[in-house]
């Protein structure tokens, strides 16, 4: 409800190096979604979340997919396991990464092909320890299907 004013206030406070004392606030950075090929039904979205107070990510919605869930990928003896999680804990001040190796947003039953360079709107709902909910709008740029090769431990010189 106070989305934009709060965001602006936070941005202003961040500029002068102050923390927001009373209202829990979560920032999102490096959001992206993976491109799909024609008729591919699902894809993933990734980002880094940082909450100012202990909070949790409780839901994600997007107009590009009929089903949006937060999943966790775990490795068990080289078996990749997938499963929906109820929420993702966001400890105060700690950057929590949703990436292809752990938690991620699943976009299923896509309404359209996701093409490189486009943007995927995501609506995140974060709840703080007091049960106060914050809604965050994110525009995740679509990166190439093989985006992995460009970052992280795959990077080669």
């Amino acid at each position: 409800m106070l989305r934009n004013p709060v965001k602006r206030t936070l941005a202003a406070l961040a500029l002068i190096g102050l923390a927001l004392p009373a209202v829990a606030q979560t920032t999102v950075s490096d959001a992206w979604a993976r491109a799909t090929v024609a008729h591919q039904q699902s894809s993933g979205a990734f980002m880094t979340l940082t909450a100012s107070t202990d909070s949790k990510l409780i839901s994600v919605a997007s107009p590009v997919a009929k089903i949006v869930q937060v999943h966790q990928m775990t490795m068990d003896n080289d078996v990749m396991k997938m499963g929906e999680v109820d929420s993702v804990a966001l400890p105060a001040g700690k950057a929590v990464t949703l990436d292809p190796n752990g938690y991620h947003v699943m976009l299923m039953q896509l309404n359209q092909q996701l093409k490189e360079g486009e943007q995927v709107p995501l609506t995140l709902v974060v709840e703080d320890a007091k049960g106060v909910k914050q809604t965050i709008e994110v525009k995740a740029p679509v990166r190439a299907l093989n985006a992995e090769a460009m970052s992280g431990h795959q990077h080669m010189h």
Partner: protein, 203 residues
């Protein structure tokens, strides 16, 4: 079994005479190999008799890839994490292998034939590298292929659809169709490329 052995003997004969001599196959190479990062699978017999179709509808078996070094990975195109990461790594491995890259044949086997049509599969793997091959079969053929490799997979319900949990190992055969190396998802492209060169040295 007799049939399989006969075929193996024929292949061994062929490779000794022709390809073996050309590629410099080490005749002592039946034993275990030392890999720096991956798992030696030289003593395992997996994936010998799968029969699936490529995206053009041609039947492919392991013997279709003799003379190259097939790297087989099971997955599905709606996989958000492990599959694109592994295929992107495979493309990166090819770059790192330089002149030897043509020898590596990446084979992606779909565990989700209900949704992975040949069209989607073809576009999907070629988005990573135009040389990658995708195979699929009926549900029964898929189950048989997975069983042969000891690959675990299961559907996980998600809303009114599903996703899959599955084994994320890449299986590498030498040019004579002998299983050699298992590459874990956690290895990076450089580590994989080093181990693949070890397979190439043998055969």
């Amino acid at each position: 079994m007799t049939d399989l052995l006969t075929r193996r003997q024929v292949v061994a004969g062929i490779s000794l005479l022709g390809l073996g001599a050309l590629a410099g196959c080490d005749p002592r190479s039946g034993g275990a190999l030392d890999f720096k990062y991956g798992k030696d699978m030289s003593n395992k017999i997996l994936g010998r008799s799968f029969k699936l179709k490529d995206t053009q509808g041609n039947v492919r078996t392991l013997s279709s890839f003799w003379g190259s070094m097939p790297m087989v990975f099971f997955g599905f195109t709606q996989c958000p994490a492990v599959c694109p990461t592994t295929l992107a790594r495979a493309a990166q491995i090819k770059k790192l292998m330089g002149r030897d890259a043509g020898f590596l044949q990446v084979v992606f086997i779909s565990l989700d034939p209900e949704r992975d049509t040949p069209e989607v599969l073809d576009a999907y793997v070629k988005a990573f590298d135009p040389s990658f091959v995708a195979l699929s079969g009926t549900l029964e053929e898929t189950a048989a292929a997975a069983r042969e490799f000891g690959v675990f997979y299961e559907k996980v319900p998600a809303g009114d659809t599903y996703t899959l949990s599955h084994t994320s190992t890449s299986y590498v055969f030498d040019s004579r169709g002998q299983l050699r190396l298992g590459l874990s998802h956690s290895l990076n492209a450089k580590e994989c490329a080093e181990d693949l060169l070890t397979v190439m040295e043998v055969c």
